[in-house]
């Protein structure tokens, strides 16, 4: 026996090492427990070095960048001093400050606005697994991060924490093949499951062919996965087609569009409702509606007070007056005579015993188009003071899918 082992020593050691690792694998699969000690050692050895490398990279590249920026500013200042004086120079400085505003500011703004409790984290390295999308962030259990927490940016979801170590955490990105999250579409409220494809885009599964989803429709987290709070933007449908096992919907994840450098880990998530209007992701500035038309008009609607601003508004008002003049309640009984002419103030409408007291009609001109309609949001979210930023303060201000103000460079 001894001579046999000596003769086949190499093969024996190989078999022992492989068998040992197979047993280790079997133990992990069987008990669903991790060999945490090994992972903690490895991560604690590697991540401090990557952290140092990151600091060095930021400082060196940042300093070089700052040097060139300062050179430019100095020259620019000289030119401005000659041309326009101190006032314009100050203007330039402020514009430069805005232009070089860090993404951290956007994160901070989002953090302040979001009802969920979050912590900012910086990506310091990649995971080593083949064909998988994982990154290490510089926040760990010592900062309150736990396994299973959601990771987001103001633009959308990024992934979830799959391992939390004392000083770092491993985040599985939403583009990974093993990633899944419950989502709901914004317009048609179609529920589905978002899965990563291993590359840039994601796929929505569990949607029947009969359900309606439009190209360009936004998807938000549904909250049913118990990881992502409801109402975080996920992405926009880029391809929608019928398939053999249900609808095939491919999604462009919005959380990755600004590049991944800093992220937010959701420590305590608060569910929000899905925004009603599809203003998300549009970088188009929308002007307020035009003032009422001053030119005299003819026809039944001409004598009506100008409540709305569009033809449809005017027609609606005219029909309302006609209905009021005849004491008609729309939706009940025979239709009124639309051919009569109503001039001046109509007589008071007939008492409507069954109809609830109508709320004062909102002037469509007062609709604020910069913010998505969160009127149906939950109480805790709605109770938060709503701040509206005047458009004119920033040169280019856009609204992120979640309704968070986003500064664009």
């Amino acid at each position: 026996m001894e001579s046999f082992l000596t003769r086949y020593r190499n093969l024996t050691v190989l078999l022992i090492v492989v068998a040992g690792q197979l047993l280790l694998l079997a133990y992990q699969v069987k008990t669903s427990q991790d060999v945490r000690l090994l992972r903690v050692w490895s991560v604690s050895t590697v991540t401090p070095v990557t952290r140092v490398l990151e600091v060095v990279r930021r400082n060196t590249f940042g300093l070089v960048g700052d040097y060139f920026v300062l050179l430019g500013v100095r020259e620019e200042n000289r030119r401005l001093q000659q041309e326009l004086g101190n006032l314009k120079m100050q203007n330039h400085f402020l514009n430069a400050e805005l232009a070089t505003a860090d993404r951290v500011h956007a994160l901070a703004a989002f953090q302040a606005q979001s009802p969920s409790k979050t912590i900012a984290a910086r990506i310091i390295g990649n995971g080593t697994a083949a064909n998988s999308a994982e990154v290490f962030v510089d926040r760990g259990t010592s900062q309150g991060v736990e396994k299973g927490m959601a990771v987001v940016t103001p633009d959308g979801i990024v992934g979830k924490v799959v391992e939390a170590y004392p000083m770092a955490s491993l985040v599985l990105l939403a583009t990974d093949q093993s990633f899944a999250a419950g989502v709901v579409s914004q317009k048609n409220r179609v529920h589905g499951e978002m899965r990563g494809l291993g590359h840039g885009s994601c796929k929505i599964t569990e949607v029947q062919n009969e359900q309606k989803v439009d190209v360009g429709e936004w998807f938000y987290t549904s909250g049913y996965d118990r990881i992502f709070p409801r109402g975080f933007p996920v992405g926009q449908a880029v391809v929608v087609r019928n398939g053999s096992e249900g609808k095939e919907i491919f999604l462009s994840p919005s959380g990755f569009q600004g590049g991944l450098d800093e992220v937010l880990i959701v420590l305590e998530g608060v569910h929000q409702l899905i925004p009603e209007q599809a203003v998300a992701g549009t970088d188009v500035h929308m002007m307020p509606p035009p003032p009422p038309d001053q030119t005299p008009a003819t026809g039944p609607a001409a004598d009506m007070p100008q409540v709305g601003n569009t033809d449809a508004d005017r027609l609606k008002t005219a029909y309302k007056k006609i209905g009021d003049a005849q004491g008609h309640v729309y939706g009940e009984g025979a239709p009124p005579n639309f051919n009569i002419k109503v001039t001046g103030n109509p007589p008071p409408a007939a008492p409507k015993a069954s109809a609830p007291e109508a709320a004062p009609e909102e002037d469509p001109g007062d609709v604020h188009l910069d913010q998505p309609d969160f009127s149906a949001q939950e109480n805790d979210a709605a109770a938060k003071p709503k701040t509206t930023k005047p458009k004119s303060t920033t040169p280019k201000s856009t609204t992120s899918p979640g309704g968070a103000p986003r500064e664009t460079r």
């Binding site: 190499n10 190989l14 992972r39 990557t50 490398l53 995971g127 083949a130």
Partner: protein, 178 residues
């Protein structure tokens, strides 16, 4: 023995000890740097994601040491560290790299592995073997239905082989200095 002879022996011994020390340091430092490269660099240079430096380092050490036990233990160590830096179960890369280390060392006992052409071929072969065997293990042991793209693996294998040649050369130079 004369005084000169004793001094000569002492000097040789000291140089040998220092060389061993540097080699031992390289034995730990080189795989660490390879893993660090894989963790950090593809963040900024995504196109370098194809590079499997820990595997190349495993092949290099197995080929140069020419000891199957040493090669397989080195491969197991690198693979387990690589496993622990991802969310996958510990042992997947460990098993694959153990086999790579063993086979590479076994090959080095029979062939002249100083030949660059052979180094290129072996690097390509072991890269393909590594990826394919990992996929087989993933499917067979864990039941993951991941896809295997042979075309992409062949291309990445060729690229890794192309990187292996200068890398092995640099590591040889370091070894020579030690």
């Amino acid at each position: 023995m004369s005084e000169f002879g004793e001094r000569l022996l002492d000097d040789t011994h000291r140089r040998k000890t220092r060389g061993d020390y540097v080699r031992s340091l390289a034995f730990i430092l080189v795989p660490f740097l390879a893993i660090l490269f894989q963790v950090y660099v593809p963040r900024f240079f995504g196109f370098l994601g194809f590079l499997e430096l820990p595997l190349l380092v495993t092949i290099y050490f197995a080929l140069t040491r020419r000891q199957p036990i040493s090669g397989l233990l080195f491969g197991a160590m690198v693979g387990i560290v690589q496993d622990s830096l991802s969310q996958q179960l510990i042992g997947m890369y460990g098993i694959v790299k153990t086999l790579v280390g063993y086979f590479a060392a076994s090959v080095s006992m029979r062939f002249d592995v100083e030949n660059p052409v052979l180094i290129g071929i072996l690097s390509f072969f072991f890269y393909f073997f590594h990826q394919f065997f990992f996929w087989v293990l993933d499917r067979a042991l864990l039941g993951h239905l991941t896809a295997f793209d042979p075309q992409q693996t062949v291309i990445y294998g060729l690229l890794n082989a192309a990187v292996a040649l200068p890398l092995f050369h640099v590591l040889d130079k370091l070894k020579g200095r030690a």
